[in-house]
């Protein structure tokens, strides 16, 4: 197919994408959220061990709007959301695009449970807005958005499907491999499912709490039809602890020969004014894939990084 035909063939999916974005905005507006815009170029992206930022004249393109949005929270904005492109180096595949679209929203005075409720309400509202409520065809499956959705702990899922306890005997390599090979592919059929309570090592900015005999991060992931759709958590608001985690992360990035980002001092200062809060990021392209029965992210984005203008 020539490039014009390829674009023309994407038309109904790109039109669905537009309606899905509209549905998201309506949902948040109706609930009193403020849509915000934060800088796409930043001097100091959030230190994450496995997320690499693209350089831009000595600064970086943001990998998520997280740090700036939390500064707004700390200044008293109670309910904010943003839909923006984010950039992550080297991430390319059927479900990855190095420039993809995130929907992030934050709530002051809330924890991760409030976000789970938001997820249920948001997906129902969006599905209904684009004519995919309550069922949605996806490959050979008929997906359903109807609540209640199952909420499983990481510990239980790993014990069931991988035969070990990642809270007690955490192993980063084994965790990632088993998640991808044994767990993710079967998660979220036909309804979305939450995976909750991660090992503390798997969350850079999430609050910890005691769970049974150990500590867990109050972080969850939303999966639907084997697709990781959203990552949310109760925010860590202890400046000292956040500094320790950033320092450890940047040390490891230095040891691994990766880019070592500048210290996000303003963000850390703002934590002193932040009390309870929770935030979540949802992959917009992936939701569009699910609601338009697309097998590749390239079916729901007009252009890929390989396409010249």
């Amino acid at each position: 197919m020539n490039p014009r035909d390829i674009l023309a063939a994407k038309r109904w999916r790109l039109e669905m994408r537009s309606r899905i974005l509209h549905g998201m905005r309506l949902f948040f507006m109706e609930r009193g959220f403020t849509e915000v815009q934060t800088p796409v170029r930043t001097p100091a992206p959030a230190p994450e061990l496995h997320i690499d930022a693209v350089r831009s004249e000595g600064w970086y393109l943001h990998t998520s709007p997280e740090l700036y949005m939390k500064r707004l929270l700390a200044a008293g904005y109670e309910k904010i959301f943003q839909i923006c492109p984010v950039f992550r180096k080297g991430e390319r595949g059927r479900r990855h695009h190095p420039e993809f679209t995130l929907l992030e929203w934050y709530r002051l005075g809330a924890d991760s449970n409030a976000l789970k409720k938001d997820c249920e309400d948001l997906l129902q509202a969006v599905c209904s807005h684009v004519g995919r409520y309550p069922h949605c065809p996806y490959g050979p499956h008929t997906l359903s958005v109807l609540p209640p959705w199952e909420d499983r702990t990481v510990r239980n899922v790993f014990r069931d499907r991988a035969g070990w306890d990642p809270l007690k005997n955490y192993d980063a390599d084994r965790f990632a491999l088993d998640l991808v090979e044994k767990i993710e592919p079967a998660l979220g059929f036909p309804k979305p499912v939450f995976l909750s309570d991660y090992p503390p090592q798997e969350a850079a900015l999430a609050r910890l709490r005691p769970h049974e005999d150990l500590w867990v991060a109050e972080r969850f992931e939303l999966y639907w039809a084997g697709v990781e759709l959203a990552n949310g958590f109760s925010e860590l608001t202890d400046r000292r602890e956040q500094e320790d985690r950033f320092r450890e992360c940047l040390d490891r990035r230095r040891a691994d020969g990766r880019d070592v980002y500048p210290w996000p001092e303003r963000f850390l200062e703002s934590l002193e004014h932040l009390e309870r809060a929770a935030g979540i990021a949802l992959g917009v392209d992936r939701l569009v894939m699910l609601l338009t029965d697309a097998s590749s992210i390239d079916d729901v984005t007009a252009f890929g990084p390989e396409h010249e203008p």
């Binding site: 061990l49 496995h50 390599d173």
Partner: protein, 192 residues
């Protein structure tokens, strides 16, 4: 020796050297669970034996590109289970065992030009032109069958390959075949 590659270079269609043998990536998936590390899931096919296996790689893993080379060859003759070819540029002769020729043997006729694949200088297989022309040497005239459209009958070609063709094909006809699917395309010359 092939070039050194990193996990970020992996993609479908790439050819790697693993444990001294050439492998083709027939399926590829990039994965990055949650906040975790990047994983590169590959289905690999051994280009000599055809066996397949799945393996997941991490960023930081290093690879060797398979040292492969293609040369145009002309098929000369078969002797026992050895197939003899001649390099069309250097006139050098090369032989290939029947198992390395594989299904391509069904379409090989004298003087046919093919591409021969070499791994580290040793021949490991050939790739045929997409279309070849072969003569029918045996067709059972007794088969009348159903004359409705789509009806077929088996014939034997000059290479010994048996194939389904439309009922009007006769012994001595020359047929055009698609070597990728191994199927009949059209009759190019009728026997007279």
């Amino acid at each position: 020796m092939g070039a050194t590659l990193t996990a970020g270079d992996l993609r479908k269609g790439l050819k790697l050297e693993i444990d001294g043998e050439p492998y083709l990536i027939v399926d590829f998936e990039f994965s990055k669970p949650g906040k975790g590390q990047a994983l590169y899931r590959c289905r690999l096919r051994n280009m000599i034996t055809g066996t397949q296996f799945d393996r997941t790689y991490r960023s930081g893993d290093k690879f060797l590109a398979a040292d492969l080379d293609e040369q145009e060859m002309e098929f000369l003759y078969k002797e026992g289970n050895r197939y003899h070819f001649m390099n069309t540029a250097t006139y050098e002769q090369v032989e290939l065992a029947e198992e390395s020729v594989g299904d391509a043997k069904n379409f090989l006729t004298e003087n046919l030009h093919v591409d021969m694949l070499f791994f580290k200088g040793a021949p490991i297989g050939i790739s045929l032109p997409n279309f070849v022309e072969l003569k029918v040497i045996k067709s059972d005239p007794g088969v009348k069958g159903d004359t409705a459209s789509g009806a077929t009958k088996p014939v034997t070609l000059e290479t010994g390959y048996e194939i389904q063709v439309p009922l009007f094909i006769e012994e001595g006809d020359v047929l055009k075949l698609d070597t990728r699917t191994g199927t009949y395309v059209e009759r190019v010359k009728a026997s007279t």
